[in-house]
């Protein structure tokens, strides 16, 4: 289990201080799809990056099966790197413009798994098939792909090491409604297939309610509600959660 306990993150700039995350606790449980929802700038991405071991918290702890994930532990530990993967928000800039699709997906395999060339190729091919990426795209560069394809390449790359913990940061931002739905369905399917503990970060309450096994609502750096979601938005009790539900715009 990946557990963040009483995590606070404060950024200091000269004499001014900004607290992005305030005493937040969140657990990612294998088989469960948790959605962290909140307005833009409320600290969701910061919390997810702390959970992934990308940035250290100012206080609090992040543990994976009892082992600290706080940097630089993650950078030095190949197992931690392979087990926690993140799909970053902007797929266009999350892929090296010089890398082909094949090379982008193969990179984590080469760095973290050290498979043979044949095994690597088999895994990349199977991931591309699973993500419905035509094999003709293997040699293309990110600049030659559509938004949906870019997102799929990023997901394939994150799945390449068969991680036990997957974090999707605004997986559907910048996509049109149809592509958005297909990506959400894909995330759900992948979650069911892999059984990975999945954290999806979004500002879109409708997408959150569509996806969540567990829902955590964030407001100004604090998690104000964290409960299992059974399909009834009425179960959300916090006034901010209710306001987000009232304001949501359902898909056509």
């Amino acid at each position: 289990m990946l557990i963040a306990e009483h995590v606070t993150k404060t950024y200091r700039n000269g004499k001014s201080e900004t607290t992005a995350v305030k005493d937040a606790s969140l657990s990612l449980i294998p088989g469960e799809l948790t959605v962290l929802v909140g307005q833009s700038g409320c600290g969701k991405t910061t919390l997810s990056r702390i959970l992934a071991g990308i940035i250290p918290p100012t206080s609090g702890s992040v543990l994976l099966d009892g082992q600290s994930v706080v940097p630089p532990a993650r950078r030095k530990n190949r197992r931690l790197n392979a087990e926690i993967q993140v799909v970053l928000q902007d797929a266009g800039s999350a892929l090296d413009p010089h890398f082909s699709v094949y090379r982008s997906i193969a990179e984590p395999i080469r760095n973290l798994l050290r498979l043979s060339k044949a095994e690597e190729k088999a895994r990349v091919t199977s991931l591309m098939e699973r993500l419905r990426l035509p094999s003709a795209l293997a040699d293309r560069r990110p600049g030659e792909l559509s938004g949906g394809q870019l997102k799929r390449v990023c997901i394939a790359r994150a799945l390449a090491t068969a991680p036990r913990y997957l974090i999707f940061d605004e997986a559907t931002s910048g996509l049109d409604v149809l592509v958005k739905e297909s990506i959400l369905d894909l995330i759900r399917e992948l979650h069911r297939e892999t059984g990975a503990a999945t954290l999806m970060i979004t500002h879109d309450m409708d997408a959150a309610l569509y996806m969540a096994d567990r829902i955590a609502v964030m407001l100004r750096g604090e998690i104000v509600e964290n409960r299992p979601y059974t399909g009834d938005p009425g179960c959300l009790e916090h006034p901010w959660s209710r306001r987000l539900v009232e304001q949501m715009e359902p898909y056509a």
């Binding site: 990308i54 790197n81 392979a82 800039s93 999350a94 892929l95 090296d96 984590p108 760095n111």
Partner: protein, 271 residues
């Protein structure tokens, strides 16, 4: 990018000038009508004629042959200098941007210290310590210019470090070495090449400047700066002796500068 570059008149002009200088340097033994160092006092200040197309200098040496071999001397020093500067700049600049705050601050401080002195002053000081010779000139220019290259690479690398693909590479287990070699350098290379091409011009000018000041290369070496220096006394009697090497320096420097500027315009257009 190549297509856009070849449609840019400035790039074509720059490339043409570079090509002229390169061909002159490479083919000088074939093109030069005489030995550039062969003196013949009976032909002092000889006017242009079929045997001596640009005439002869104060020692009766063929001016054209000396100019052709001069290209060899200028480029023969500038290219190794640029190669060393490129490796040093990329390595130090990328390390500064990648390896955290303290190494970055140290690199910035050292670079700022070097940059605060005029390049020529640093180079003259190095030659003063090491003495004259090709190696000393190369080392002097490297010492004078490395900080500019490292600083430039560091600035571009720092910009790239903030991008998501670098974070994604880290998440996929890339160590610092791989990050620099596979991600950072390929992505700053276009901007670096622009800087490098204008650096060739600076280096050619510096080599000529040294020769003009009587530093660096042996006096008998056919080199544009040296030829310019020895023709100083003839400005009123034989001004063409100053014009020829001056034009050569202008062509070489202008070629690399024009090409570098055009490359930058094309890249900015693509950005």
């Amino acid at each position: 990018m190549a297509k856009r570059l070849f449609r840019n008149p400035q790039a074509i002009l720059g490339l043409a000038l570079i090509l002229i200088v390169l061909l002159a340097a490479l083919l000088s033994p074939l093109l030069a009508p005489h030995d550039p160092n062969a003196t013949d006092l009976t032909k002092r200040y000889l006017a242009p004629c079929p045997e001596y197309p640009l005439g002869a200098d104060e020692l009766g040496r063929c001016e054209l042959s000396r100019l052709l071999y001069g290209a060899r001397a200028s480029l023969g020093i500038s290219f190794p200098v640029l190669l060393i500067l490129a490796v040093l700049g990329l390595f130090l600049g990328a390390l500064g941007a990648c390896c955290g705050r303290v190494p970055d601050q140290i690199l910035t401080f050292v670079c700022d210290t070097f940059i605060s002195f005029p390049q020529l002053v640093i180079a003259i000081a190095v030659i003063g310590i090491l003495g004259t010779g090709v190696r000393s000139v190369i080392l002097a220019i490297v010492v004078a210019m490395w900080a500019w290259f490292a600083r430039m690479v560091r600035s571009y690398a720092a910009l790239e470090m903030g991008k998501d693909y670098i974070l994604a590479a880290r998440l996929s287990g890339c160590g610092t070495g791989k990050l620099i070699l596979l991600h950072l350098i390929p992505n700053i290379l276009p901007q670096f090449l622009v800087y490098l091409s204008t650096g060739v011009a600076s280096s050619i000018l510096m080599v000529s400047g040294f020769a003009f000041l009587g530093l660096g290369l042996p006096p008998e070496t056919a080199e544009w700066g040296g030829m310019l220096s020895s023709a100083r006394g003839m400005i009123y009697t034989h001004p063409e002796m100053l014009v020829y090497p001056g034009v050569c320096i202008l062509i070489a420097a202008a070629g690399f500068n024009l090409f570098g500027e055009a490359l930058r315009d094309v890249l900015e257009g693509e950005g």
